[in-house]
């Protein structure tokens, strides 16, 4: 974890400093998290908000500090600047205790208060969001949860606040998957496929191997992960049920097997194979295992990604001499209806496309010269926007609300995850205490 002085070099205005001071408080409570998340650059026009510690009605201490989790989520998004706890003018826990004038004086336009009460084995969590300028309640909910569900409830509260104030659905109550690599002996490495909450908590290892793991991809219901494992000495694609750990090898053809991508309706898996002699894109119908070849080109074709309506695949191909992104449209049966059209024209290397959830943007690894960075292409205007300034960026993955991109990069010879807002203004970094972390994949929304 960075010290406040080194982070202060990055954060160079007052609003950002306040953000850091708040994180300094919160990070003490997140010390046991496996992935530490730091905000390295916040939104300059971030909304001021105050999250008052929730009242606790029960014995001992509550199992989770719900208001601290809510506050950390909002801060991490870069869209909000929570007021440091030592600057709260008062600590109301009921609506009638609020002195709106006092909150306006500290520029906290929005205020969150709440209460957690033990009820047998359960906990009742209530919270209210207020507009302190107009002195009105914007949202108020009461929820019941067991102790293990309290972190999730806190993320859901943050999602409600985020949506009410930004108009966009929050993505705090989601998960991330990623691969970690550790040197366990000279020449011997341990690869792990992990799933964690979007804030890095609750990390769970779902696969361990001494051979490389790559390309985790979520099923649209968030219950399965497809990935590539070299455990048998060559690349093969597996689909694993996250809850049970049961898995199935779905593609182990002669040659390479890689780049799995579930269709949004969950019925098909696009992937790359060189079974017919050269790396091509195929689509497998998951119920039957039937595969259909999509591309026919002597060049490399790989890294398919489905458009939101499942009627197009974007992919990487070097058919034009360098890796660039192409798109092919599909009919209802998933068969191509046109020849692939090239989408990228800026830079000498564009690869690993990912459609934004609304289908308007395409994120990719982009190089124009020697630095490999994350960029988004506006599909309507054709404008390419480079979002990062590091050199070895890879594997961009959209948050399910389209607000942020999670990606992997290298900082000081270590693989770390980072996130950037699609407008390039908010930057976060997620680092392990030791070892490398790579190949991030942000989960879909969990609607059930």
């Amino acid at each position: 974890m960075k010290s406040s002085s080194s982070l202060a070099l990055v954060l160079n205005n007052v609003a950002k400093m306040r953000l850091w001071l708040l994180l300094g408080v919160l990070l003490t409570s997140t010390a046991y998290a496996r992935l530490n998340i730091e905000i390295t650059q916040g939104e300059e026009s971030a909304l001021p908000i105050a999250v008052v510690p929730f009242a606790w009605n029960g014995s001992g201490t509550p199992p989770q500090d719900v208001s601290a989790i809510v506050s950390a989520d909002l801060a991490r998004s870069g869209q909000f600047v929570p007021l440091p706890l030592d600057q709260l003018p008062q600590q109301p826990t009921q609506a009638q205790e609020i002195n709106f004038g006092a909150w306006q004086k500290v520029n906290a336009d929005n205020l969150v208060i709440g209460r957690v009460a033990a009820q047998g084995d359960n906990y009742q969590v209530q919270f209210q969001l207020f507009d302190t300028v107009r002195g009105v309640q914007l949202a108020g909910y009461s929820m019941t949860a067991t102790a293990p569900q309290l972190r999730r409830i806190a993320h859901q509260i943050a999602d409600i606040i985020y949506q009410r104030l930004t108009g966009q659905r929050g993505a705090f109550d989601t998960h991330i998957a990623y691969v970690t690599v550790q040197d366990v002996a000279p020449g011997k490495r341990r690869y792990r496929l992990n799933v964690a909450d979007s804030d890095g908590y609750n990390e769970q290892v779902i696969l361990t191997s001494s051979k490389p793991l790559m390309s985790p991809a979520w099923s649209p219901d968030g219950k399965q992960l497809a990935y590539v494992s070299f455990e048998e000495g060559h690349s093969a694609i597996y689909i694993q049920d996250i809850a049970s750990g049961k898995r199935k090898k779905v593609a182990d053809f002669h040659g390479i097997n890689g780049a799995p991508a579930f269709s949004h309706d969950g019925t098909r898996l696009a992937f790359t194979s060189s079974r017919d002699g050269n790396s091509e894109i195929y689509v497998m119908t998951l119920a039957t295992g039937q595969i259909y070849r999509i591309t026919h080109n002597y060049a490399i074709d790989t890294e398919p990604t489905w458009s939101p309506d499942d009627h197009a695949l974007a992919f990487t191909s070097d058919r034009g001499g360098s890796p660039q992104i192409y798109e092919v449209h599909l009919d209802d049966a998933g068969h191509p209806v046109d020849t692939p059209q090239r989408l990228t024209f800026d830079g000498n290397y564009n690869a690993r496309p990912r459609f934004s959830p609304d289908g308007k943007l395409l994120a990719m690894v982009h190089a124009d010269g020697s630095a490999f960075r994350i960029a988004v292409l506006d599909l309507a205007s054709g404008e390419l926007r480079v979002l990062t300034d590091t050199h070895l960026d890879e594997s961009p993955s959209f948050a399910p609300n389209g607000s942020m991109l999670l990606y992997a990069t290298d900082i000081n010879d270590r693989g770390v995850l980072a996130a950037v807002s699609v407008d390039g203004r908010v930057h976060q970094r997620l680092a392990l205490k030791n070892g490398d972390v790579r190949e991030p994949a942000w989960s879909p929304f969990f609607d059930q």
């Binding site: 890689g258 780049a259 490399i300 890796p323 190089a367 070895l392 594997s395």
Partner: protein, 179 residues
Amino acid sequence: MNIRRRTSWIIGLGSLLLAACGTVPQQPAGQVPVEDHSTSAVQQGAQTSGANVGGAFSGSELDNPSSPLSKRVIYFAFDSSQISADGRQLVAAHAKYLSQHPDVSVVLEGNTDERGSREYNLALGERRAKAVEQLLELQGVSPKQLQVISFGAEQPVALGHDEAAWSLNRRVELLYSGN
């Protein structure tokens, strides 16, 4: 340098399949379902040693450090699978040996540097290995003697993040079985 891996895959497979069927998340820390047994052969108490008694296979040529066959790595330029003049010379020496020893097989392992995307690199590594395969076949080596595997960017031999390391990682390794 990576030759040991070949055997470990096969030995490791059995333990993996057992572990994979169970509930992987419950694995205690430090327990690896996919185990690398690469050093187990030399840790056994008894050691066998070979003796050349006039069999068809002569190991000496492959083991001779001054033979052109001792060079078994072909290097490539960034995002390229074109074999350089040096690489062609190296391939020619191995083609000659392999065509004279049709019972010997070799694995062509394609690799890339870390830059760019991992899946594109997986395909690029394979294209490099296939370029070497094609050249060997053109010079009389039977396809049955050759096996292509790509590790993309996943098995670097040099761990730096500069051209010095990258140039060593953009490679195809020739791995003779039993060597």
